[in-house]
């Protein structure tokens, strides 16, 4: 195992940030920690990268205990925090050199590992980090986290605030790094990114909701979900919410995802009900659950 987390709990004064967190990440795995802001993702990252000590539980990274062997962990992991934390007044090249030197290596020695990413920002290597665009900053931060050839890479919300094109590029880069044998733990608030991971842990309010492969998580969803649309979304939501047999009603883009309490549910009855509520252009169709549906069902 590359990362083991057993029953980790952490409180800040009266706030429980993490409660009995457990999961393992296999060597070479791309593992996602999926949850909204405030779920406890960053606290967990700080514990695993030895920057914070848990109140309870234990964890190992690359075979080392996060408390007793913290110095060894620091040499073996790369950490890209959610907040850009490179030196804004150093250039791209100076930042990279700085991090290489700290870890007692050189850019040249590990160039192979960062090459794919670095060539994209190398034309601007004399530009100060503070003057870079979001996408470029992110690539530089990733290079700096990789320059000492870590065994495990921690990426805390690398794609937050990044547009879809840069997001796609970033995930492509992660896949290539994974192929080079690096274990990756990545956190994200975007449910759709779960599908890009080998396995994920869904986390909310400091608690793990589920740990599994993304396609398995979706399979655990037991109810049939219906995509419903009508001429007016607001009236449709209100009507469904006041339907006494509803189990869940969630807007989902151009549709509402609806589940019913009854095992013998017949969509035709619902249609009749909606018509009685003066809705028109009603369409009710079966649909497949997504990670987000599962997340909401578990968090309910």
């Amino acid at each position: 195992m590359s990362i083991t987390v057993s029953n980790i709990s952490k409180s800040y004064k009266s706030v429980k940030a993490l409660e009995n967190i457990y999961f393992n990440v296999k060597e070479g795995e791309l593992f996602g920690l999926i949850g909204p802001d405030g779920a406890g993702k960053t606290t967990l990252f700080r514990i695993l990268t030895t920057l914070l000590i848990a109140n309870e539980g234990s964890a190992t990274v690359a075979g080392f205990d996060v408390v007793s062997d913290y110095k060894k962990i620091r040499n073996n992991v790369g950490y890209m925090p959610g907040k850009f934390s490179l030196y804004q007044d150093l250039t791209i090249e100076e930042n990279l050199n700085f991090f290489a030197t700290i870890f007692g290596t050189t850019i040249k020695e590990n160039y192979e590992l960062i090459k794919d990413i670095y060539v994209q920002i190398e034309p601007f290597k004399d530009r100060r980090a503070g003057k870079l665009s979001g996408g470029m900053k992110q690539k530089l931060a990733l290079c700096c986290a990789l320059i000492h050839k870590p065994k495990v890479l921690f990426l805390d919300e690398p794609t937050t605030g990044v547009d879809p094109v840069s997001r796609k590029e970033f995930w492509d880069m992660l896949k290539r790094l994974q192929q080079k044998g690096i274990t990756i733990l990545v956190s994200t608030p975007y449910m759709d990114e779960a599908a890009l991971c080998d396995r994920v842990a869904l986390i909310q309010d400091g608690k793990i909701l589920q740990v599994d492969a993304p396609n398995a998580i979706v399979k655990h969803y037991s109810k049939q979900i219906y995509n419903i649309s009508a001429h007016n979304m607001y009236l449709l939501i209100n009507a469904l919410k006041s339907y006494k047999y509803n189990h869940s009603v969630y807007p989902f883009g151009e549709f509402v995802h609806y589940t019913d309490q009854r095992a013998d549910f017949n969509p035709e009855n619902l249609k009749v009900y909606l018509e009685s509520k003066k809705l028109s252009q009603i369409v009710i169709k079966n649909t497949e659950p997504t990670i987000e549906d599962t997340f909401m069902e578990l968090a309910k």
Binding site: P164, V165, D192, G253, F295
Partner: protein, 242 residues
């Protein structure tokens, strides 16, 4: 201007020196519509929106927002729109009620009106228990719901939302969209700028900006058909990558 078009934009352009940030964009938004304004980082969304809300002068073109010309009536525009940014939020060191009173005052509501609105709003949002607590202590999702309501305090014709639900948990996020649907259903136009494509799926119509131009405009369903993909993220990728 016809009653139904609350935003009319024609060949609106903004140059910074030789750089054309917004390149002759044209579109219209109707009363009560939820309009998604999409684009990659640096595509010109923010510059375009600043012109629409009356805080940046266009270089050329025409725009009429909430019945007022952006060139000559910027101050009137500001009084008739609401604005909510993900970053701005509210004053963390004021209580829920104090924030409402403060923003109500800024928008020129009378004391009695503020009191009345404040009571309704606190009740609707289910914030009774925390009405006298500092906003800083509220969870992110509550803050965002509150700041949306505050942006609607003065019954604006249009409310501009900048990436309203990024990072919010999926359940709260849907409660937020229900609030948006409700506002739109009551005739408020909702203008959402975002680069989260799943937010785009909730809009009645969306426009996508690439390098200063609007390269696509339509309902999410039409755009998905047009680009032969099954989600807005793929529409965006196809457009932005050419």
């Amino acid at each position: 201007m016809s009653d139904n078009k609350v935003i009319q934009v024609e060949k609106l352009t903004k140059m910074f020196g030789n750089f054309t940030a917004v390149n002759a964009i044209s579109f219209e938004v109707e009363k009560g519509e939820i309009f998604g304004f999409l684009g990659a980082n640096g595509a010109g969304k923010t510059t375009a929106m600043k012109m629409l809300i009356g805080i940046s002068n266009p270089t050329s073109g025409k725009a009429n927002v909430a019945g007022f010309d952006v060139f000559t009536r910027a101050e009137d525009i500001k009084k008739n729109i609401g604005y909510m940014s993900q970053k701005f939020a509210l004053y963390d060191d004021l209580t829920v009620k104090e924030n409402i009173t403060f923003f109500g005052g800024i928008y020129g509501l009378s004391r009695t009106k503020i009191k009345e609105k404040s009571a309704v709003l606190v009740e609707e949002l289910g914030l009774e228990a925390v009405a006298n607590k500092l906003v800083g202590a509220l969870p992110l999702g509550w803050k965002q719901k509150l700041s949306f309501s505050v942006a609607l305090l003065h019954n604006p014709k249009i409310v501009f939302l900048d990436e309203p639900t990024g990072g919010v948990d999926p359940i709260t996020r849907r409660q937020f969209w229900e609030m948006i649907y409700k506002a739109a259903n009551h005739g408020t136009t909702v203008f959402v700028t975002t680069h989260y494509m799943d937010e785009a799926e909730y809009c009645d119509r969306v426009s996508i900006m690439v390098n200063g131009k609007i390269e696509a405009l339509g309902t999410p369903r039409k755009l998905k058909e047009q680009f032969k993909v099954d989600n807005m993220n793929d529409v965006f990728l196809k457009l932005a990558r050419g």
